[in-house]
């Protein structure tokens, strides 16, 4: 670089330091005490126009109460009485809400408020209080184990009703430990759905259900992260925060990255150090590194041995992509006179031997058999392509038992 003699007095740059450049007060005292009454809550919440201040808190954008004053909910039921009566009349009751299967009759223990659009005219009596919201969420999540109805039906119901819970929460601007816990449970629901929906390919529009679920998952996560930030007390982190943060990293697996519209590098630059160094984040970051490098071996091994259940559900759709990459590498770089035994492929893909051949076929490749009946993959075949469907997923061998 040559030196020039002229002096330019303008200052082109500000002195941005490399440390975190966001303002975060250590004295935020936003948590209402756990047993506060409604009046205390109201006092805390006054003049707190959160949403216009924090652009990254995207709580249900389409129903955002940007300019609505925050309410204190007083509805003591899972569903406001008015709505209950109206839906009975209109026979607009979900299967779970019907009393003895009667599509025109429900009860306070069965009806759950539907998700809706908040308006200026929303009454406090239509908004459920925090304890009621907690009860409602528990009730809904217990339905997940219900065997009576197909999963899509269960999913649809819980999807909508949990969305309504989030609406009630955001209308009241409640930002405390209980809210965080509730959001964590809702994220879990979406992740479990993400996994279960993939196996219900019976409906013709399942992929749109799956897509919508993914959208909600991301929205919930974004809101949850904002809650963690706003609720942070000096240098502490929430117990589950590292795992839930790791989900964001894992969602960046896959060739179509940037699912949340923001670069992962930018996101990581704002994550507190304690979280970055956690075991869960460490796992997610390593996995991402293996994926980006193409180290299919380590990717599959590490997933099998270290992923938690929820993490695995997020990673699951990418496993076949990685296996396909491995297959492509073997096919294009393997010596043509050394065909690859499928026993080895099975080890490489961490897949059962009898799944190897259908998988290779799904990628456009053929398996040959020699005189002894051994199966192998001849390399340098021409028709390789990535499998069209994510599934079937062919179980990943070596998966440890998950602790729920």
């Amino acid at each position: 670089m040559e030196r020039r003699q002229r002096r330019n007095p303008s200052s082109a740059f500000s002195s941005t330091s490399s440390s975190s450049s966001r303002f975060r007060s250590e004295k935020f005292s936003r948590n209402p005490p756990k047993n506060s009454n409604l009046q205390d809550d109201a006092r805390h919440l006054k003049s707190r126009d959160w949403k216009s201040q924090r652009p990254e808190r995207e709580v249900e954008k389409e129903q955002d109460s940007y300019n609505l004053p925050s309410i204190v909910g007083t509805c003591p039921f899972m569903c406001p009485a008015g709505e209950r009566a109206q839906r009975e009349r209109l026979r607009d009751l979900a299967v779970f809400e019907r009393l003895n299967g009667n599509p025109g009759k429900t009860s306070p223990t069965l009806a759950v408020k539907k998700s809706t659009i908040a308006t200026k005219h929303t009454q406090a009596s239509d908004v459920r209080s925090l304890p009621v919201l907690e009860e409602t969420l528990n009730y809904l999540l217990n339905l997940l184990d219900s065997m009576e109805h197909p999963f899509e039906v269960v999913h649809d119901f819980i999807f909508d009703r949990t969305r309504s819970i989030r609406q009630d929460l955001s209308m009241q601007n409640i930002i405390n430990d209980q809210t965080i816990h509730m959001y964590e449970e809702m994220v879990k629901f979406h992740i479990i759905s993400h996994h279960k929906l993939l196996t219900c390919s019976s409906r013709p529009n399942f992929s749109s259900v799956h897509y919508l679920n993914m959208e909600q998952l991301k929205k919930c996560l974004t809101s949850l992260y904002a809650l963690y930030e706003e609720n942070r007390d000096s240098n502490s982190i929430y117990e589950n925060e590292p795992e839930f943060r790791s989900f964001h990293v894992l969602l960046h697996l896959g060739s179509n990255s940037q699912p949340l519209g923001e670069s992962l590098s930018l996101w990581l630059s704002h994550v507190p150090s304690a979280i970055l160094k956690s075991k869960e984040m460490f796992f997610a970051r390593r996995l991402l590194r293996f994926f980006r490098m193409g180290n299919y071996k380590r990717f599959l091994c590490t997933t099998a041995t270290e992923a938690s259940c929820l993490q695995f559900y997020i990673i699951e759709p990418y496993i076949n992509e990685v296996r396909a990459l491995a297959l492509s590498c073997v096919n294009s770089c393997g010596y043509i006179h050394h065909p690859y035994p499928i026993a080895h492929l099975s080890k490489l893909f961490m897949m059962k031997e009898l799944d190897v051949e259908p998988f290779c076929n799904a990628c456009g490749l053929k398996i040959s058999t020699d005189e002894q009946g051994n199966k192998f993959l001849a390399t340098k075949q021409k028709n390789f392509h990535y499998p069209k469907d994510v599934f079937p997923s062919y179980c990943l061998l070596g998966l440890e038992h998950f602790k729920r």
């Binding site: 303008s10 941005t16 303002f23 201040q53 990581l268 630059s269 991402l288 073997v330």
Partner: protein, 413 residues
Amino acid sequence: MAYLSMGEAHRRITEYLNRFSDVVLNQDGSSLKQLLSVSSNSPLLLSLADALNLFHDYNRLLKQSDRFSQISEIVSPLFRSIQNFRLGNLLDSYNAFEKAANAFLQEFRNWESAWALEALYVIAYEIRVLAERADRELVSVGKTPEKLKGAGSFLMKVFGVLAGKGPKRVGALYVTCQLFKVYFKLGTVHLCRSVIRSIETARIFDFEEFPVRDKVTYMYYTGRLEVFNENFPSADQKLSYALTHCNPRREANIRMILKYLIPVKLSVGVLPKKWLLEKYNLIEYSNVIQALKRGDLRLLRHALQDHEDRFLRSGVYLVLEKLELQVYQRLVKKIYIIQKQKDPSKAHQIKLEVIVKALKWLEMDMDVDEVECIMSILIYKNLMKGYFAHKSKVVVLSKQDPFPKLNGKPVNS
């Protein structure tokens, strides 16, 4: 503070008012800007601030003469801002300045020529800086910082005023850069997109017309956005532009450009010389570069670990991590060179066991299967030419150009 008499205070304020009024009348932009730089603590403004803090009834002075009627909308809140700044009331100072700035912008619209552009730059700069300080004050008392966001809105207004056909449009890039600084500080980097779109696609703007200094800043920030999105060719082009056009005396600025340009260059296989790192104090990269030169995977891992926080905060960590494949390539190349010296006819065949051993020597525990995986990836991504023989556990390299160079392109995804 030295004793200041009421009379003297009165005099200072009147002098400032006269000066302001004259400057506007004479359309003297460079003099005007000195009267507006609240945060600069210039002797002029400091002495004025003291006067204002003593003689509180300055609004009466403004009403006294018709001369000041045109400027009073601007100067009255400006005085409040200067006064409060001196007292350390940063929130009040900002709020007052915002009023003054809006009043100024109104007048600016009416002035046909671009004589006051430099003064407008000062307004744009000051509103950002004062907002940052106001937010800091808010945070320190446990409130939500919101002023910088407000400053951003004001700057968008300014941009709107400048985005027209006349001579004022040449100021739009400066304002854009102030907006970038606001968005980067707030972390709302995605908001840069709309301004970028305006600058790059609107027909009224000709990029070459803008002042060099603004072009450099613009390319720096848009280059950084490309780094966040890992568009390396584009990042290279933008940051290199900033580097070549940056004033070489501005070493701090050059350092900032290099901080992002170096990882980009490394990703396309271009290594900076050691003196560059030393001159601009970027030695955090030196081990990374050494690792690339030596094929030393352990060194790369350590370098990333040692400076993990710094690299993560600046957003280059993932970029540097990706260099691992190039380090592997270099390692295998070294083995190849050594083998060539021993026996040129067999050099192109490398036993996987040898690579395992080399990696063990680097304290990296990898089994043959993983090494085979890495080798196949290197071949797949065209960092190596050849094939691997699974049965004999050997990598066979092509006799011609077995280690293609990147040639300014990033590794194939």
